[in-house]
Subunit: 414 residues, 2 copies
């Protein structure tokens, strides 16, 4: 039986088990945003817990829990943040915990509003799923040479827009943009007709570097605080016209949605698995040892307005060709500096089978094979008022550690 | 005679005339970073001036001058920031000003250390010089179709790295990276052999928008606080190998240097000029009226270690095909939000003549025609310990308004 050992009631299939303890920022009607931990269907108010003296045995100033983002907490370093997590686990399993008799430290998740957990200074998006890159290359370039020559040598990535990162629950408007019809001579201005999700995960940087310094593959995990689900909204028709030669821009920067709870690397540790074989051999600065991928089940659902949701993709983070340690070593090998709160996206996570593709572009094969929803309707891309829901979780016989959801509705053009 | 009307001594060829009044952040040996204004070879300490009551007639809290960045000052809005600038001009020309008898409010520029003037949340780089885009397209693609099909329709741009923006005076190390030799089958890891400058200017956002909102061309100037010189360091060999399909990444994010003084749009107003004709006609959301370009003379010098500097490029900001208002309207037309302190680069500013090209890539035509320096040495790209200096200024018979310098030494690999 899972979750048997906490005195707090946690359902067996909860993402937020005693083994998880993810951190986020929440607010309630009368109180300002502050730090919390998700446990079952509750939030443990860390500021309130600190006022009870729960963290007195640890050497840090719990004022960090009063902030509107987790950056200052995360910047304390893993020695402290890990100890906080372990102490919370102990308190929630200790029948004599002060928390048990102070029910005001718990808030029902349905009564709280979640906020962006961190201030993101810089956001980078990688392109690290070989299945995704192959699918896109097959559709848009040459099926026989789907992967570009650099792909197996470089964890290809690019900079994204940090200002338009939003948290689950914030809706997005269909973007306007320039697009060009296949045989047209000139572009047109109008609403994107190919709004798409991208099923991704992102990691949050937990330790800064100074300009000129590097992070080695073997030390990369020191610099990663935790992970979130990430829907990298994309306008395929805008992207197609604008992206040469400097990469995607307005096709991506109208919104990027993340789940509100950061699941720590400590919580994900039991779910490490081997990654795919990398051929040809990578350059020495990208070589790694041990298991660096993570078995995280992922799913995407589309829910039309007033309708039921249909799961349109079932994927897994373990498919990633390039792992996070390699991405970070590559990102910093030229001395590029990173800051606490920076976000690094995985790129769309597609598996080998057609039902594991991580975007409508791939699932509908650029619109050629519309995806059927449970209500009988079809989707080539996302339609106005569709809710897109992504979920992710790790599960063994003994443990479940999940991410909750990132849920975003696509509203009509504003 | 220029600058005749101030009681402070300002040389006739100073960039920092009474007509300029640019804002920056400086520190002195014993005092923390704070806001100042450059005037002649002095800095007016705005915090010290505020303590004398100089700004008492204006409705704002002068504590903004105590901050380590100008973001909070700029966020007050142009009504305030313009009034502050005008008031400083009045004080510096009023022979009875309190400032005149309080010499402690002035610090010699040589005794001060300059800092990044703003915290940059997001940095975008455009690619708006038609001469530069044509040169690059001619070298790397097809001389007969040098411009890509989207170039005359879209102010092409992409997101850059905000964390590695540095101020003039901070040195840069030659970056390591992956590159591939012309006929090689596999890439190598090593120091970049083609480190280059890019002569650019950047503008600083002065007013935020919310996600989903747009900025129209006709209102764009409301959102622009001022401009700086910008050296967008580039590693051409890394760029060539990594940039498909998502754009430049490590080739750019090892450092981006800016000049320390933000010259306001008010100071640049007298130097507005017409831009080049845009053919074909742009889409309506990019149409503009009036003069939207600026006549800003630009130059780049290379100074070898222990040597004299040689001017290698003389360009002008007026050459830009796409103006700042168009860039900003395009950037936000999909609802992408902007924040105070965001930085928008112009892209390399090349003119028509060979001595006006804004990068070594163009000046040496990818290394084929090395550039001669005054000491008899030659440069295809930038060598270790070379200092790259960029300057910019506007000048009429009556007025000189300049940017000072952005000066960065390229150090060997760290």
């Amino acid at each position: 039986m899972k979750n048997i050992d906490s005195w707090i009631s946690i359902s067996e299939n909860s993402d937020f088990s005693i083994h998880n303890i993810p951190f986020g920022i929440f607010s309630t009607k009368n109180d300002a945003p502050r730090a919390g931990v998700a446990i079952g269907d509750q939030i443990l108010d860390l500021d309130a817990a600190a006022e009870l003296g729960v963290f007195n045995s640890l050497d840090f100033n719990p004022h960090v829990f009063k902030r509107e983002t987790l950056n200052d907490f995360i910047a304390l370093g893993k020695e402290i943040t890990s100890a906080v997590r372990v102490l919370i686990q102990q308190e929630l399993t200790n029948p004599d915990s002060t928390l048990k008799t102070n029910s005001n430290v718990f808030i029902s998740q349905v009564e709280a509003q979640m906020h962006l957990p961190v201030f993101v200074g810089d956001y980078t998006d990688f392109y690290s799923s070989i299945e995704h890159a192959t699918n896109v290359g097959t559709m848009f370039r040459d099926p026989n040479n789907a992967l570009l020559p650099n792909w197996r040598h470089i964890p290809v990535g690019y900079h994204g827009r940090a200002s338009s990162i939003i948290v689950s629950g914030v809706n997005v408007h269909r973007p306007m943009g320039q697009t060009i019809a296949p045989d047209a001579k000139a572009p047109k201005y109008g609403p994107s007709k190919r709004v798409d999700f991208e099923l991704e995960m992102a990691y949050i940087i937990g330790k800064k570097t100074n300009l000129g310094n590097t992070v080695k593959v073997e030390n990369a995990e020191e610099y990663i605080f935790g992970k979130v689900l990430f829907n990298d909204w994309s306008a395929r028709d805008i992207q197609k016209w604008e992206y040469v030669p400097l990469g995607p821009f307005l096709a991506k920067n109208f919104a990027s949605s993340i789940s509100p709870w950061i699941v720590t690397m400590e919580a994900l540790e039991p779910f490490k698995v081997a990654g795919p074989e990398q051929k040809p051999k990578v350059l020495p600065y990208l070589e790694y040892t041990g298991e660096r991928n993570y078995d995280i089940g992922l799913e995407v659902a589309i829910q039309p307005e007033n309708g039921e949701e249909t799961i349109v993709s079932t994927s897994n983070f373990k498919y990633m060709y390039w792992n996070m340690a390699q991405q970070l070593a590559h990102h910093t090998m030229n001395g590029c500096n990173i800051n606490v709160g920076d976000m690094m996206g995985s790129g769309t996570i597609s598996g080998k089978s057609k039902d594991s593709y991580g975007s409508m572009l791939e699932l509908s094969w650029a619109g050629k094979n519309p995806v059927k929803l449970g209500d009988g309707s079809e989707r080539k891309f996302i339609e106005d008022n569709d809710m897109v829901i992504m979920r992710g979780f790790c599960e063994s016989d003994e443990i479940r550690v999940g991410f909750g959801e990132v849920r975003t509705k696509l509203l009509p053009v504003k």
